[in-house]
């Protein structure tokens, strides 16, 4: 059974990549969270946690690298 599952290192790298994407993508995750359907009792908890995390990110002054990549790709390809 050991080989049947994706190795933990694969999952851990994906999780780290997701965290990095969040850290360097401006407020896109927050925008997305506000477009989600209401999750009932946990909705406020999730949003409050996300807002707190976003505030911490803003305080750290992390750049929006995703936005920069997006702008560069669109300029370079002539699309967008």
């Amino acid at each position: 059974m050991k080989g049947r599952r994706a190795p933990l290192s694969f999952l851990a790298t994906l999780a780290a990549a997701l965290a990095l994407a969040w850290a360097f993508s401006g407020e896109r995750f927050l925008d997305w969270a506000f477009t989600m359907p209401d999750l009932g009792p946990v909705d406020d908890v999730i949003l409050a946690a996300l807002v707190a995390a976003e505030e911490a990110k803003a305080a750290a002054g992390l750049p929006d690298l995703f936005g920069a990549l997006r702008g560069a790709l669109h300029r370079w390809t002539g699309l967008g």
């Binding site: 059974m1 080989g3 933990l8 290192s9 694969f10 999952l11 995703f66 002539g78 699309l79």
Partner: protein, 462 residues
């Protein structure tokens, strides 16, 4: 929930983690995948979970009843009527309601029955077709009926291919529930390549061609010249290929990461040298479903030429009407049927060199995409007329990036598939964190290159 969205990325990351946590506990893993699939479907409209459960119950119950010595045949008939009837009601009720309203209006008996209109549940055709496949395969003795409803529920609801295929046969899927494939480095590499190819096809090629060329040209075909309309039609051929095969690639890749292998759904269809070849390469899972459960039961290639032609026309017309109740889909299906029949009668004469035959088939397929893409017959006629015009009053700009995307879409059909193998082989030999990093970086690049907003896949509406 659409694949190329942040919402789905987070959802799939969670599923992958839960799948790993479930480990070798098959029942737990099955329950988790069913729950994930139902949650995935509920993200569109939770009300239709009951419908999917109903379809599952019919297929499962029929499977158990089929081998009853006295009631087996009746069980099959009842199940097929229930399944196809359900599909027909959701797909065609609104059309008949509107037609009846118009008729009554002409007689001065106008009624507003807008409140009776039904919402078309996303992906209903695909899971109903899978349910039919289960019932028919059990009836034909190709598979044994499943005692556990969870097996049938997972087969019908498995989220990677739930809403737009590929239509997986029960005989292919159910054994994989019993013995899931070990996800090794080669499978992960194949999955990463498929997912990234699918994202590029959908988010870059299909979406930009739709917004930049196809949609504006089909919105005002009367303002286009022959050149711009021809480019728009070719762009639509590339768009629908990249949209649909992109979805299939992502679905097959996601399933691979979970340990399930599905057959390829597209095989470079625009390099086909005959219409028959095109249908063997386009939406292969639906084409083979139609062949096995409609064309062959109707008579297939048995009987004389007239009977064969009638069966072919009926099959292709029904396949056209499956896309929706409208003259444009009927014409599209019937024209393909007529083309296939003519091809069969000609028996390969005149023999053309392969490139010329492929170009001829591509031109024919593109022309037939016009009624398929046009919202109504008037627009289709205007698009055909535009092809013969040299002047344009307000042509859509043929920007070089869009022409490059058309060329890229055609290249995907014409380049030998072997060019991918070294890259996938290299990825297969890489450590799993590198594979994950490639998947993450490629996904990020596709999201960055894409337009703002979410464009649904074309085949969701069917």
């Amino acid at each position: 929930m659409v694949f190329p969205t942040l919402q789905f990325v987070l959802f799939f990351a969670l599923v992958l983690a839960l799948d790993a946590a479930a480990g070798g506990r098959a029942q737990l893993r099955k329950a988790m995948l069913i729950a994930a699939s139902y949650a995935f479907y509920a993200a569109w409209d939770a009300r239709f979970l009951l419908l999917m459960a109903f379809v599952t119950a019919v297929a499962w119950g029929a499977g158990l009843a089929l081998h009853h010595p006295r009631h087996g045949r009746r069980a099959k008939l009842v199940a097929i009527v229930l399944l196809i009837g359900t599909l027909a009601v959701f797909k065609y009720f609104n059309f008949f309601l509107l037609s009846l309203q118009q008729l009554l209006g002409e007689w001065g008996l106008a009624r507003d029955w807008g409140w009776m209109r039904l919402i078309l549940p996303v992906g209903i055709s695909f899971y109903v077709f899978q349910a039919v496949s289960y019932v028919m395969d059990v009836a034909r003795g190709q598979i044994l009926p499943r005692r556990s409803p969870a097996d049938v529920a997972l087969y019908i609801s498995f989220f990677p291919q739930l809403v737009a295929g590929p239509i997986v046969r029960a005989a292919d899927f159910l054994p994989q529930i019993d013995r899931p494939l070990p996800v090794d480095a080669a499978m992960r590499a194949e999955a990463v390549a498929l997912i990234l190819a699918g994202l590029f096809k959908k988010m870059v090629v299909a979406n930009y061609l739709a917004v930049g060329l196809v949609d504006p040209a089909f919105a005002f075909p009367g303002a286009q010249s022959g050149l711009t309309m021809a480019a728009a039609v070719l762009a639509y051929a590339v768009q629908i290929y990249c949209d649909f095969s992109g979805y299939s690639d992502i679905a097959i890749g996601l399933a691979l990461l979970l340990g399930y292998r599905f057959a390829r759904n597209f095989d470079q269809p625009y390099r086909a040298t005959s219409l028959r070849g095109f249908w063997r390469r386009w939406h292969i899972s639906l084409s083979s479903w139609i062949r096995d459960y409609l064309y062959i039961p109707l008579g297939g290639s048995r009987g004389g030429p007239l009977r064969q032609g009638a069966v072919l026309m009926a099959t292709m017309t029904l396949a056209g009407l499956w896309h929706g109740a409208g003259w444009n889909f009927l014409i599209w299906g019937a024209a393909h049927g007529a083309g296939l029949w003519a091809e069969r009668r000609l028996g390969g004469r005149p023999a053309l060199p392969a490139p010329a035959a492929a170009a001829l088939v591509l031109a024919l397929v593109c022309l037939l995409w016009i009624p398929f893409r046009a919202p109504d017959l008037g627009t289709a006629a205007a698009a055909f007329a535009a092809l013969l015009r040299t002047e344009a009053s307000a042509p859509v700009a043929l920007a070089p990036p869009l022409l490059a995307l058309i060329a890229a879409g055609l290249a995907m059909n014409w380049l030998p598939l072997a060019w991918r193998r070294p890259a996938v082989g290299l990825l297969a030999r890489a450590p799993s964190p590198v594979q994950a990093a490639v998947l993450a970086a490629g996904t990020l690049a596709a999201f960055a290159a894409a337009q703002e907003g979410v464009a649904p896949f074309i085949y969701f509406q069917f």
